[in-house]
Amino acid sequence: MTSETDMTHKTLALEVNGRVVETRVPAHRTLLDALRDLGYVEVKRGCEKGDCGACAVLVDGVALDSCLTLAWTVEGCSVTTVTGLGNRTEMHPLQEAFVEHGAIQCGYCTPGLIIAAHSMLSENPSPSEADIRNGLSGNLCRCTGYTKVFDAVAKAAGAMREAGETS
């Protein structure tokens, strides 16, 4: 099944969070499964239908639902998950703002929301509330009611503009 001549599997090289990783996956494997199998479990599975956004990752800077993306199609692309944006000692302004504003409850939607916000801010560094709402409209959150999420994203946008960091 996994012989080198097997046409249904392929060894892909992806850049994930700045590191090149190789993985051998069948044609039908979603990016969500491929990433989780590689240990990037911060990419969450909420529906596998493109309805919830919990699985969102950046592919070359743009947020995509990894559950609707086949792993083969992102060969050679740069993939970023929420752990690629920052860590406990050096958080990304979005992560910091989510923490400070209490925009995280169960946190299951958080990786996807932060990724979607990042994607939106790289297009539009000075979003209105309507822009923020739009940018997050593919991401469901059942706990927060979004109020603090909007505040956090607005706050982070300001911080990122100040730091000149919008990418």
């Binding site: 479990v41 909420g46 752990t83 409850q105 169960c106 299951y108 927060t144 603090k148």
Partner: protein, 772 residues
């Protein structure tokens, strides 16, 4: 063990240093940077993947189930059917630490003969990969012979109706009688009657149910499970035929619950497969599995007949409640009880008759959901109050004011309320905060609504609830809390840390909290019923205070100051009158340890215990206490399309004491969104019992495009029974929202849609039915 019951009255120490501050929750950073391991993120060497085969129809006899081809498939480890189970049943009641008698509600784990709902499990499969498990599932052959089902409670109550449960489909009945109803109606100037309906609602937590099970080196079956209730280990152990101490459940941090992870679901399947294979088993529900695999919010039909004086005083209230229990009992009797107790709302009614029944059908079974029956009752009683106001031509707020329960009054079951009742303050403040009305333009009509409520916190008192916590100090002065409480996203764990930090005079950062392990953290009970803070918060406070007392006594010796003259703050122990006389907290701990002083404490907190209600009148204590508050809403309704937008949303709740105001706001904002979905868009639709909304593209929860920003007004009477006078906010946050929206919509369009959800179609239909 200390078992003092704190009075829970106002705080005695001069100033709170940790409690009451909007601190960053202990779990926030890990979640923000993607480093929090949820249950589904754990894997094990050699683990198998499981799947559940579900019935495609709602009412049938299983005449053939052939799993031989599935078993023969390469790399399939195990296929289980009802015939393979030693014990066919599992209990699905509220688990108790105190061994109170349970209801007779045990239900089949797998279908042996009779299918009663769409999605009822027929077989369990474990295989080397998910794909193989799914292939095996497709190889299972079965014949289902349809049998006539019954799909709404009214039909199920008819003579000759198909019987789903018991002898007459009535799975629970609840009566509450107070005063003289006939006399009350005679005294009335007007009698107003309306029937309101609510729908099947889904919890829609973002993390579908998932678990990982294995047998450890001591032959204990271990489960990591996304559950609100690790103490279901008892039911799981009984179902798989091992002693209770042979099943260990851990929940870590859970990706949302709202009542939907309260009953046993996948844990039992995993435990069975672990037992049969001896190998680690991972089972993750797909979203469709999740929507089909746990109980929903009960639809209620609620008929209110209210007698009122011309001045608006209520003289009598008769309420008929019918709840759709679905195919199995689960928590229906308790949900019905909550609805009945809450039925009059936060209003004084001296002549009362409440008559409720929960009725089995072949719909999906219904069970716990944030608000737990009381939220459905609020949908009725608050719409009824607006209807009464309209009929009598009295201002809606004024009508309420004339009828509010006041501090010291008794509730429906004739039991006095322990704490302050600040309904009036909450309604007035929320209403005022709506400010100037938005102007109507074009097709848009503007309307406003308010709803007050009464929602219990803490479990039913006759179930005898307890909770435990352990607090200890390490020699370096750091603090450890251990408690079985599960954290389902509301910050349950972090709040315990804040309480321990407050009592011991350290920072939240100095506290480490170990939680939700049924084997090694002291059992704390369920994270349900708005009880975690009240119960476990008290247990932590009691434990920390006992420990503090011992440490301060030791400090008194060293500092040469009487122990009542000593305080601890910011890691320093000092004389209150002369802060120069002091020592570092960690020094004190060292001295105490050297003296052999016990530097930890295990405490149990007991809620008030009561006996059952009077079987005739329903009189007696049901809950420890209640939360009161209100939500006010302004909407714009497009009379062409029926579209509703919420323009303003203001909540005012007396939470007793906000341990962490940011977390309280978070509950209020989340409750507002969930209540909005309940009011306007969410409905699990079953046709002949068949679910036709099996994904989030059919079942519509509010998105970032739909919700308003919510303003929270947090009032603190300090009179709750929880730590530092706290009450609770988990369920109360949701309860008034849907009726406030319903009232606002009616105010906007001048006609009432009495069935939730108030969809654009229903609004347009109602507008056309009403000649204007």
């Amino acid at each position: 063990m200390t078992d003092t019951i704190p009075t829970g009255k106002a705080v005695t120490r001069d100033a709170l240093r940790q409690v009451g501050r909007p601190l960053v929750r202990t779990d926030a950073v890990g979640k923000a940077v993607g480093k929090t391991m949820y249950v589904g993120d754990h894997v094990m060497q050699g683990m198998l993947h499981a799947r559940v085969l579900r019935s495609p129809i709602a009412s049938a006899r299983l005449t053939r189930l052939d799993v031989s081809k599935a078993r023969a498939l390469d790399r399939v480890a195990c296929v289980l059917t009802a015939d393979d189970l030693e014990r066919p049943l599992i209990a699905v009641d509220i688990p108790g630490q105190t061994g109170r008698a349970r209801l007779e509600t045990d239900q089949q784990v797998l279908v042996r003969d009779r299918v009663r709902y769409h999605g009822e499990p027929l077989a369990l499969i474990a295989a080397e990969t998910v794909e193989i498990a799914e292939e095996a599932m497709r190889l299972i052959e079965f014949d289902l012979e349809p049998i006539p089902g019954v799909y709404n409670p009214e039909d199920a109550l008819q003579p000759g109706a198909p019987i789903v449960q018991g002898t007459d489909n009535v799975v629970a009945a609840q009566k509450i009688v107070k005063g003289d109803i006939e006399k009350g109606f005679r005294e009335a100037d007007r009698i107003i009657e309306n029937t309101f309906q609510t729908q099947f609602v889904e919890h829609a937590f973002l993390e579908p149910e998932v678990g990982l099970g294995w047998v450890d080196e001591n032959n204990i079956i271990n489960l990591r499970a996304s559950t609100q209730v690790i103490e279901n280990f008892r039911f799981i152990a009984d179902a798989i035929g091992v002693p209770h101490n042979r099943v260990r459940v851990r929940a870590s941090l859970v990706g949302g619950g709202f009542g939907g992870k309260e009953d046993v679901t996948m844990e039992c399947y995993i435990a069975l497969l672990v037992k049969h294979t001896g190998r680690p088993i991972r089972l993750e529900f797909t979203r469709e599995d999740s929507l089909m695999g746990h109980g929903k919010r009960h639809p209620f039909t609620m008929t209110y007949r209210t007698g009122v004086k011309a001045d608006g005083t209520i003289t009598a209230l008769e309420v008929r409640l019918i709840a759709d229990a679905g195919a199995y009992v689960f928590l229906s009797p308790y949900v019905l009880l909550y609805a009945a107790i809450a039925a009059p709302g936060p209003y004084r009614v001296d002549n009362l008759l409440i008559d409720g029944r929960a009725v089995a059908t072949n719909n999906m079974y219904t069970s716990a959901f944030r608000g737990f029956g009381a939220a459905q009752a609020a949908v009725a009683y608050e719409q009824q109050m607006d209807e009464i106001a309209m009929e009598l031509g009295i201002d809606r707020i004024e009508l309420r004011r004339r009828n509010y329960l006041r501090s010291g009054d008794t509730i429906s079951s004739n039991y006095p309320i322990e704490s302050a009742v600040w309904t009036e303050e909450c309604v007035d403040r929320a209403w005022a905060a709506l400010g100037e009305p938005t102007e109507a333009t074009g097709h848009l009509r503007i309307g406003r609504g308010v709803a007050a409520y009464q929602q219990s916190y803490g479990r039913i008192t006759y179930l005898h609830d307890t909770s435990q916590a352990w607090v200890g100090v390490e020699i370096d002065g750091s603090v450890t809390v251990r408690s079985g409480v599960t954290d389902i996203g509301a910050g349950q764990v972090s709040a315990l840390g804040q309480i321990a930090a407050e009592v011991l005079g350290v920072d939240l950062d100095d506290v480490a909290i170990y939680n939700s392990d049924s084997a090694v953290t002291p059992l704390a009970g369920t994270t349900t019923a708005t009880r975690a803070l009240y119960m476990t918060g008290n247990a932590v406070k009691v434990a920390a205070e006992a420990l503090r007392g011992r440490l301060i006594e030791r400090a008194a010796k060293s500092l040469g100051v009487a122990s009542d003259g000593i305080d601890i703050a910011d890691g320093t122990v000092f004389a209150i009158d002369d802060p120069g006389i002091s020592m570092p907290f960690h020094e004190l701990v060292k001295l105490s340890a050297a003296d052999g002083i016990h530097c930890s404490e295990l405490a149990i907190f007991r809620a008030p215990f009561s006996d059952g209600l009077d079987p005739e009148t329903g009189e007696g204590q049901v809950h420890p206490d209640y939360v009161f508050g209100a939500h006010a809403i302004e909407v714009a309704v497009d009379v062409e399309t029926g579209e509703v937008s919420i323009l303003k949303s203001v909540a005012a709740h007396d939470v007793g004491r906000a341990i962490n105001p940011t977390a309280v706001e978070g509950q209020i904002e989340g409750g507002a969104a969930q209540g909005q979905g309940f009011a306007l868009s969410e409905e699990m639709i079953y046709e002949e019992g068949r679910l036709i909304t099996p994904s989030f593209s059919e079942y519509l929860i509010p998105t970032s495009m739909d919700v308003p920003k919510v303003e929270s007004i947090i009032l603190e009477s300090g009179t709750g029974l929880g730590p530092f006078g706290a009450k609770g906010i988990g369920e109360p946050a949701l309860t008034p929202v849907a009726p406030a929206i319903a009232n606002a919509v009616t105010d906007a369009i001048g006609v009432r849609v009495k069935e939730l959800p108030i969809t654009p179609e229903k609004i347009v239909a109602a507008l056309h039915a009403e000649p204007t």
